[in-house]
């Protein structure tokens, strides 16, 4: 009995501490601090903003705001009264929604890009005695029947990107492509995690082809356990003509109380100092052309010269109808 009282009291104390933290922590007009809103998986290395703080005296607090889509949804709803000062990571499938809702003050700037492509397991294909695919049309061949796993375009960002690639490639004829692809026994799953870690042969599945990122092959090398020998080839690669370009943007949020400081942060985000950190922490390509790519990227990330693209307006306008049409073909 005495114990439970003590227990409860201590918990109340903790709660009170939190309340007092709140009282101290929130709204102080503090020009020495900026809040950078980013998606959940924004994990720059520790100290990524030290250079910025050293130069400007401004501290950067990162506010994690769900996944990329959730972040944009929240930003649209709070446009003009934002939760932070600068937003990082609105991608090209969402950017026109953001600008239509007047989320940003001024124009957003591109900060990084990446490609979503069909990845393949080199060893698994070799075992089956098949060459690696290169183009979208290759995937229709009976050679690759029952070998591809893709994500649901309605629920997964890489899944959507792959769909957009086919739309960019085949124009109005894209449903035709998909019917043939479905006939070739493609497996559709809801999440990238499921596709990559359950169905992909590299992790014990039975499908040697998977829709993933162009930066997945270097990640496989860097994060291999046991570690790979320095001259070993990458275990996976990508079909270079199946890629869709994703570009990410950052911008000053409309309604921020610190527009001038926010501009400084934007400048920093595209500066060489910061952009150098991007490849091996976020696994994206820096927009800043002056940045030297790390060795892992040079060696193991295949160069995508002509990815498929669509304008953000196009995507925003037709997204719903494309997805409905796609669901009809692929899921029902």
């Amino acid at each position: 009995m005495k114990y439970s009282l003590a227990h409860k009291t201590s918990r109340l104390v903790i709660a009170l501490t939190l309340i007092s933290l709140t009282a101290c922590g929130s709204d102080k007009p503090n020009t020495q601090e900026l809040t950078l809103i980013a998606y959940e998986s924004f994990t720059p290395p520790v100290g990524a903003f030290d250079a910025f703080t050293a130069q400007t005296g401004i501290k950067v607090t990162i506010a994690l705001s769900g996944d990329a889509g959730e972040m944009v949804a929240k930003a649209s709803l709070t446009a003009g009264n934002p939760e932070g000062d600068v937003m990082w990571g609105v991608d090209n499938t969402f950017i026109s929604r953001a600008t239509d809702s007047e989320v940003f003050a001024g124009e957003p700037v591109a900060v990084d890009y990446g490609d979503v492509c069909v990845n393949y397991d080199i060893a698994a294909l070799a075992e089956r005695g098949i060459d690696a695919p290169r183009t979208l049309d290759d995937l229709l061949s009976s050679r690759y029947a029952s070998m591809l796993v893709i994500e649901n375009a309605a629920t997964s960002s890489p899944g959507l990107a792959f769909l957009l690639a086919t739309i960019a490639a085949f124009g109005d004829n894209w449903p035709n492509y998909w019917e043939k692809l479905i006939n070739n026994d493609v497996l559709i799953v809801d999440t990238w995690n499921d596709a990559y870690y359950t169905s992909f042969t590299r992790y014990g599945g039975d499908r040697p082809l998977v829709v993933s990122y162009a930066t997945s092959p270097p990640a496989e090398v860097i994060f291999a356990s046991p570690p790979m020998a320095t001259d070993a080839p990458a275990p996976t690669s990508v079909a270079t003509e199946t890629c869709f370009r994703q570009t990410e943007y950052a911008g000053i949020l409309r309604g921020t109380k610190h527009p001038a400081e926010s501009q400084l942060l934007i400048d920093y985000l595209i500066s060489k100092d910061f952009q150098t950190l991007l490849p091996e922490s976020l696994f994206v390509y820096p927009i800043n052309a002056d940045v030297e790519l790390p060795e892992s990227f040079i060696k193991y990330a295949p160069h995508i010269s002509q990815p498929f693209t669509l304008t953000s307006n196009d995507i925003a306008t037709h997204r719903e109808s494309w997805l409905e049409q796609w669901s009809d073909i692929a899921l029902r």
Binding site: G66, E83, V189, T191, W192, E220, F223, S225
Partner: protein
């Protein structure tokens, strides 16, 4: 005088619900639905299907969870054996697991023919929710006098008849109340459906996410969200009207029986069923690419630095624990007061509101409600614990339903009789009888908070991730190391929760 006082006792619970859910929902409805065609959204393809799927798999999952769950509940309540408290913790732990980790574990354990089928979803739902049955029905069965069963036997009741005619009716109030909670959890299921179900299977929560986030249709999502919340609330209110039964006083009886053959089988099956997925997780954290490796654990514990992979475990763990303790500090006293004094059933319906609401709609609603001074709570560090407490409240209240029969003496009466003794009697004698119920309330609250993902990830956090979110982040990256580190983190979460639950239980069953 008593009436006024008791009405006040439910106020904290109502305040929690109002601040965290009711008020924001009203605000977002007004903003997004006014002038909107609320029927149009139901005609979009997939939306009506999502509602129907949510309903039937919710009901079926609940029925199966109760049907299967009553067996281990009986054994755990009535028998005493070594490792009993560990088994109770074992069945409680799934509550906390991020669906990503469990999804992977289930897929490893289930035969391929069950992958991506509705069966896998049902099994996973049973796995996740069985502890609600165990801990809500358990205490009721624990206090059933063996003599009652013996009388039934002497009156000619076979074991099956004892179960059907005596034990089930006695457990009925608890079955209904745990069933309602399980239904809400399964109806609003998200991650399990995506990982274990076939593509395109969606519950209403998933559809709400799609409409709000993928398609930018916040009005449509709001309509769906409000409908979901209201439907569940109405269904529960109607359902619980039949619940008016009297709970007999719950006694902290020591179970004196040791296992017989059939109960031994149940213990074995339950242990196997719950250990297998967890063992699969542990295995994946130690085994990569055909070889044993501690790298995942080393990275997790900061013993090895991998360039490009930064996980700040101490910070994530600390954040999770602080949130959990704060949420429990709010939910348990508030829930206790509400259960003790609230004689009406609508309070139980009211506290279901947060749990029944899609985290997306709730998150958006909170965002637009508390965005202006002096109510600018969006960035308050108390927001997430409050939301966690709101979500845990129905569990806490159900666990403590026993308290309704151990009501403290009349205030006025106490004053008249010179005092301290009725209160002292209550504090020293009656309240300790509630320790098991209190323990369950605390255990549930901790577990729910530690494992909460949807609302936590949606609400903006500054510089702090919780452990489930860190696990999700690790799983979203390619490579052996992120994967095994994620598995290790999930294992750590299991052990921490297990330890917390066991220690809470141990202290209550003296």
């Amino acid at each position: 005088m008593r009436k006024r006082w008791t009405r006040l006792a439910s106020a904290p619970a109502l305040v929690v619900v109002a601040v965290s859910t009711a008020l924001p929902l009203i605000v977002i409805s007004v903003q997004e639905i006014r002038g909107h065609d609320i029927f149009a959204i139901w005609q979009r393809p997939g939306v009506a299907d999502a509602l129907i799927f949510s309903l039937w798999q919710g009901m079926l999952s609940t029925a199966l969870t109760i049907a299967f769950g009553l067996f281990p509940t009986w054994v755990l309540a009535r028998y005493r054996f070594a490792g009993r408290s560990i088994l109770v913790a074992l069945v409680t732990v799934p509550f906390v697991l991020p669906t990503i980790a469990v999804g992977a574990a289930f897929l490893a354990v289930l035969p391929t023919s069950l992958h991506r089928t509705t069966w896998a979803i049902l099994l996973a739902h049973i796995f996740f929710n069985i502890s609600v049955v165990v801990r809500t029905v358990g205490p009721l069965w624990r206090s059933v006098d063996q003599g009652l069963i013996e009388s039934a036997q002497t009156l000619g009741a076979s074991p099956a008849q004892v179960y059907r005619r005596l034990l089930l009716p006695i457990a009925r109030p608890a079955i209904i109340s745990s069933g309602s909670l399980i239904f809400v959890m399964c109806f609003t299921s998200y991650g399990i459906i995506q990982i274990l179900g076939g593509p395109g299977l969606a519950t209403l929560d998933i559809e709400i996410y799609r409409r709000a986030v993928q398609l930018g249709d916040i009005s449509g999502a709001t309509v769906l969200g409000i409908t979901q919340t209201l439907c569940i609330a109405c269904a529960f209110a109607w359902w619980s009207r039949s619940q008016g039964a009297q709970f007999s006083k719950i006694e902290d009886r020591k179970s004196a029986r040791s296992l017989n053959r059939s109960s031994r089988v149940i213990v074995f099956l339950t242990t196997a069923a719950f250990t297998a997925p967890i063992a699969a997780l542990i295995f994946s954290s130690l085994h990569t690419r055909d070889s044993w490796s501690l790298t995942g654990w080393k990275v997790l514990l900061g013993l090895q630095d991998i360039r490009g992979l930064s996980i700040d475990l101490p910070s994530a763990l600390a954040t999770s624990l602080v949130y959990a303790l704060a949420a429990t500090a709010i939910a348990v006293p508030v829930g206790m007061a509400a259960t003790a004094f609230a004689r009406r059933h609508w309070i139980h319906t009211a506290v279901l509101l947060p749990l029944s609401t899609s985290p997306v709609v709730l998150g958006l609603a909170i965002l637009i409600t508390y965005d202006r001074a002096p109510f600018d709570f969006r960035s308050s560090r108390l927001l997430i614990p409050l939301v966690h407490a709101a979500i845990a409240l129905p569990f806490v209240m159900r666990a403590m339903i026993a308290i309704a029969n151990v009501i403290p003496p009349d205030l006025g009466h106490a004053a008249a009789t010179l005092g301290a003794s009725p209160w002292r009697r209550w504090l020293n004698i009656d309240l300790p009888l509630l320790r098991p119920a209190l323990a369950t309330g605390v255990a549930f609250s901790l577990a729910m908070s530690l494992g909460e993902f949807g609302a936590t990830s949606f609400l903006t956090r500054r510089n702090s991730s919780t452990l489930p979110i860190s696990i999700a982040n690790l799983f979203s990256r390619a490579g052996d190391i992120p994967r095994s580190t994620g598995m290790a983190a999930a294992t750590l979460l299991i052990f921490i929760t297990g330890l917390l639950v066991i220690s809470v239980d141990r202290r209550s069953y003296s």
